[in-house]
C-alpha cells in the first residue's frame, strides 16, 4: 500500500527532474548562438511502478538525461551539398578573376589601347596607314610600335593567367594544410566518441565532430560511412581512406606541370578530389582545365596570327630591297606562344611593305598584310572573330557556373534551414519551456509543502501544529 513516504518520494523525483530540465534549458539558452551546437531536448520517463500488496503504486518521474536533437541523414545531406556548392563557388570566384582579363572586350570605346582586340586592330590599322606612303619612316615606326603593343598585350594576358594559376596553387596548398588539421581532429574525436558513447548520441563530442565535418566539407569532398560503435570513416570519392579507425591520413602536395596536385602518400588523388568537390575541387578544376583552355586559345591566336604575318613579311621586300624576314619571334609550336611572342626587329626599314623585288615606296605587301585582318586564318576564323568567340566562350562559362552556384546555394540554404529548424535553439521555445518548468517546480514544491503539513498532522495525531 502506498504511504505518505511514497508521495514524498514522487514529489522529490519531480523536483529533481524539474531542476535537470531547467539546467538543460539554461544550457540551450547559453549556447543559442554557439556554432555547431545542437539543441538538447529533455527526456522524461515515468518511473517503474512499485509492486506493493494492494496493487502497483506509481513512483514519480525519472529524467534520463538531455538528448541532442540531431538528424544524421540531414547533416550528411548538408555536408554533401556543401561540398558541391563550395566547389562551384570557388570555381565561380576564380573564373570571375579570369574573366576580368577580357573585360576590355566589353568596352565600347574604339580609341582604347587596352586589350588584345584593340591592339590587333591597331596593328592592322598601322599597316593600312603604311599603304599610303610605304617608305615613310614615321609610318614604319608606327607599325613596329603597334606590333610591340600587340605582343605586350599577348604577354600580359598570358602572364595574368599564369599568375592566377599560381595564386590558385597557393590556395590549394593552404586548403590541404587546413584539411590535414581537420582530419587529425576528426580522428581524435571519432576515437573518443567510440569509447565514450558507442550506442548513444555523444552530445557535445558529436557536435564537435559535426562541426569539423562541416568545415572539412567546405574544403574537400569526402565520402562518409558510419561504422559500428558510432564511428565514421572518411574517404575520397575514389575510396582512398582519409580517416579510418581513429587514424587520420596526411595529405601532401606537389607541383606537376604548373598545377598543384594532391597526394595521399605516393598516390595522386587529384582527380578524386576534383570529382569530390569542396573549394579544392573547384579550384583544381580552374587550375587544370579552365585556365589551360583559356591559355590554349590565346596561344593559338598568337601563334597563327604571328605565323601568318611572318609569312607575309617574308614574301615581300624591305626598304632596302632585301627579302623580308620574320616580324615576330615565335616558339616552334603554339604552346607558350602568347607568353613569348615578341617583335623580332627594331629597325623599321625591315618591314617588307613592298612586293618582292619592287621599290621602297611600293605598298603591295603592306596591303596583303593589312588584308590578314579579314582573312579566315585562325582555325578558320578571322583574328577578330576568333578572339570574339574565345571571349564569349569564357563569358558563357562564367555565366553558367554563376547560375549553377545560385541554384546550389538555394538548395543548401533550404537544407540548412531544415537543420536549424530541428537542431537550432529557439529562444521562444526555451522561454516557454522555462515558464513551464518554473510552474512545474512550484507545483512540485507546493505538493511537498502540503505533504509536510500532512505528515506533521499525522505525527501529532490530528493536532495541528506549525511545521518547522
Amino acid at each position: 500500500m502506498a504511504t505518505l513516504n511514497t508521495a514524498w518520494n514522487i514529489s522529490l523525483s519531480a523536483l529533481k527532474a524539474d531542476q535537470s530540465a531547467l539546467s538543460t534549458i539554461a544550457n540551450n539558452t547559453a549556447n543559442a548562438t554557439t556554432p555547431g551546437y545542437t539543441e538538447e531536448g529533455v527526456v522524461w520517463q515515468q518511473a517503474d511502478p512499485l509492486e506493493l500488496p494492494g496493487g502497483p503504486v506509481s513512483d514519480g518521474v525519472v529524467d534520463t538525461g538531455a538528448v541532442s536533437q540531431r538528424d544524421r541523414v540531414l547533416n550528411r545531406a548538408i555536408d554533401q551539398q556543401t561540398q558541391t556548392q563550395a566547389a562551384t563557388q570557388a570555381r565561380y570566384g576564380a573564373l570571375e578573376d579570369l574573366e576580368s582579363i577580357y573585360s576590355s572586350a566589353a568596352g565600347v570605346s574604339s580609341t582604347s589601347t587596352a586589350g588584345i582586340g584593340n591592339a590587333m586592330s591597331g596593328f592592322f590599322g598601322s599597316l593600312q596607314q603604311l599603304e599610303t606612303l610605304p617608305s615613310n619612316p614615321s609610318l614604319r615606326e608606327a607599325v613596329l610600335a603597334a606590333a610591340n603593343n600587340l605582343a605586350q598585350n599577348f604577354n600580359a594576358a598570358s602572364s595574368n593567367l599564369t599568375q592566377q594559376q599560381q595564386t590558385i596553387n597557393g590556395d590549394v596548398q593552404d586548403i590541404v594544410t587546413q584539411a590535414n588539421g581537420l582530419l587529425q581532429s576528426l580522428a581524435v574525436l571519432d576515437a573518443k566518441i567510440q569509447s565514450v558513447a558507442p550506442n548513444t548520441d555523444a552530445g557535445v563530442l558529436e557536435d564537435q565532430r559535426q562541426q569539423d565535418l562541416a568545415s572539412l566539407s567546405q574544403l574537400i569532398g569526402t565520402q562518409q560511412t558510419t561504422t559500428e560503435r558510432n564511428g565514421i570513416t572518411l574517404s575520397t570519392v575514389a575510396g582512398n581512406p582519409l580517416v579510418e579507425g581513429g587514424v587520420a591520413a596526411t595529405l601532401g602536395t606537389a607541383d606537376i606541370g604548373g598545377v598543384t596536385h594532391i597526394f595521399l602518400g605516393t598516390t595522386d588523388i587529384t582527380s578524386a578530389v576534383m570529382a569530390g568537390g569542396g573549394q579544392a575541387g573547384g579550384l583544381l578544376q580552374v587550375a587544370s582545365s579552365d585556365i589551360p583552355s583559356a591559355l590554349a586559345s590565346l596561344d593559338t591566336l598568337a601563334y597563327q596570327f604571328g605565323s601568318e604575318v611572318n609569312a607575309q613579311n617574308q614574301a615581300g621586300s624591305d626598304l632596302n630591297g632585301n627579302a623580308g624576314t620574320a616580324l615576330f619571334t615565335l616558339p616552334s609550336s603554339a604552346a607558350g606562344s602568347s607568353a613569348t611572342i615578341a617583335v623580332a626587329m627594331t629597325d623599321p626599314s625591315l618591314i617588307a611593305a613592298a612586293a618582292s623585288g619592287a621599290g621602297p615606296s611600293d605598298g603591295t605587301n603592306a596591303i596583303a598584310m593589312a588584308a590578314l585582318a579579314s582573312a579566315a586564318t585562325i582555325n578558320g576564323a578571322t583574328p577578330s572573330n576568333y578572339l570574339a568567340a574565345a571571349v564569349s566562350s569564357i563569358g558563357s562559362t562564367v555565366a553558367e557556373v554563376g547560375a549553377t552556384n545560385t541554384a546550389q546555394q538555394a538548395s543548401l540554404t533550404q537544407l540548412t534551414n531544415q537543420q536549424t529548424a530541428l537542431s537550432g535553439v529557439s529562444l521562444d521555445t526555451e522561454a516557454t519551456s522555462l515558464a513551464n518548468m518554473e510552474q512545474a517546480y512550484e507545483a512540485a514544491s507546493k505538493v511537498f509543502t502540503i505533504l509536510d503539513a500532512i505528515v506533521a498532522d499525522a505525527i501529532n495525531l490530528g493536532t495541528s501544529t506549525t511545521a518547522t
Binding site: T29, G117, L319, P360, A373, A388, T397, T420, S426, D428
Partner: protein, 300 residues
C-alpha cells in the same frame, strides 16, 4: 517542427544580395554600359568585339584615305601646273618662231622655254612627305634627271611602272600614285622629250622643226589633261569610299550603342525598386530585433 530560429541571418543575406544588385545598377548608370562583366551577356560582348574591330578598321581607313587625298591633291596641282607651263611654252614658241622670221632674237625665248622645262622637270620630281610621287615604287630617289650635254638634252627616268593603291577593309582598290614614265615620258606623248626637242630646234634655228614640235606639244597638253582627269576620278572615288565608310561607322556606332548601352529609364526604375525593397527589409530586421524573444515577457 519549430520554425528556423536563424531567419534573421537569412534576411541579412538577402540584404547583402540587394546591396550587390544596387552596386551593379549604379555602375550601369554611371558608365552608361549595361554590361559590367563579360558573363553579363557573353553573346553581346562577342558581337561587340566584332563591332569594335570594324569601327577601328573604318577609322584607320578614314585616316589613310585623308593622307591619300592630300597625296592626290599634290598630284593634281602638279599636273595642273604642268599643263599651264606647257601652254605657256607653246605660246612662247609660237612667238619665238614668228619673231625669228621677223629677225628677232631667239635666245631669250630659248632661255624662257628652258626655264619652263626645268619647272616641269621639278614638278615631275614632286614629293609628298618625302616621297617622290611620280617615281613608281622607287619613291626614295628623284625619278627624273636631265643631261644637258647632249643636243637635244636627254631626260632619264629612274623610277618604275608601278602605281600604288589604297585597299579598303571591303577590298575596294583605288590607285593613289601614277608612275612618272607614263605621264612625262610616254612614247606617244613624251612631255620632256618634246620640250627638249623644241628647245633644240629653236636654238638651232630649225623653225620648221620647231613649228611641228610646238604642234605636237599642243596634243601632249591634252594627254596630260586626260591623266589629270583619271587622277581626279580617283579622288572622287576616294571621297565616295570615305563617305561610305563614314556612314558605315555611324551605323556600327548605332548598333553598338543598342547592344551595349544601359536603358537609363529601366535601370533607374530597377534601382528605385531595389532601394524600396532594401529599406523595407531593413525596417523588418529592425522590428524583429526590437521584438526580441518571449524571454522579454517572462516575469523576473
Amino acid at each position: 517542427m519549430q520554425i528556423n530560429s536563424s531567419f534573421l541571418s537569412g534576411l541579412t543575406t538577402t540584404l547583402n544580395s540587394l546591396t550587390t544588385t544596387e552596386q551593379d545598377l549604379t555602375n550601369e548608370l554611371s558608365s552608361g554600359v549595361r554590361i559590367n562583366a563579360v558573363s553579363d551577356d557573353p553573346v553581346a560582348v562577342g558581337e561587340n568585339v566584332g563591332l569594335s574591330t570594324q569601327l577601328q578598321q573604318d577609322a584607320s581607313y578614314q585616316a589613310a584615305a585623308t593622307t591619300a587625298n592630300s597625296l592626290l591633291q599634290v598630284t593634281d596641282s602638279a599636273l595642273g601646273s604642268v599643263v599651264s607651263q606647257l601652254t605657256q611654252a607653246v605660246s612662247l614658241a609660237t612667238q619665238g618662231i614668228t619673231g625669228t622670221e621677223n629677225g628677232g632674237d631667239i635666245s631669250s625665248v630659248v632661255t624662257e622655254i628652258s626655264g619652263l622645262r626645268d619647272e616641269v622637270l621639278s614638278l615631275a620630281n614632286s614629293t609628298f612627305q618625302g616621297t617622290y610621287i611620280f617615281a613608281g615604287s622607287k619613291g626614295n630617289t628623284p625619278p627624273f634627271t636631265i643631261n644637258n650635254s647632249t643636243d637635244p638634252a636627254t631626260v632619264t627616268y629612274h623610277g618604275d611602272s608601278l602605281g600604288s593603291t589604297l585597299q579598303g577593309p571591303d577590298g575596294s582598290k583605288i590607285q593613289i600614285t601614277y608612275p612618272g614614265n607614263q605621264i612625262f615620258l610616254n612614247s606617244s606623248s613624251n612631255v620632256l622629250g618634246t620640250l627638249n626637242q623644241l628647245i633644240s630646234d629653236l636654238k638651232n634655228g630649225n623653225t620648221a622643226g620647231a613649228t611641228q614640235v610646238a604642234g605636237t606639244l599642243s596634243g601632249i597638253i591634252a594627254y596630260v589633261g586626260q591623266q589629270r582627269t583619271t587622277e581626279s576620278d580617283a579622288t572622287n572615288q576616294l571621297t565616295d569610299e570615305q563617305n561610305t565608310f563614314q556612314e558605315q561607322s555611324t551605323q556600327l556606332t548605332v548598333q553598338q550603342t543598342a547592344l551595349m548601352q544601359a536603358d537609363t529609364a529601366q535601370v533607374a526604375t530597377s534601382l528605385s525598386s531595389v532601394e524600396t525593397q532594401q529599406s523595407g527589409l531593413e525596417d523588418a530586421i529592425a522590428a524583429l530585433e526590437k521584438q526580441g524573444s518571449l524571454f522579454n515577457l517572462l516575469a523576473p
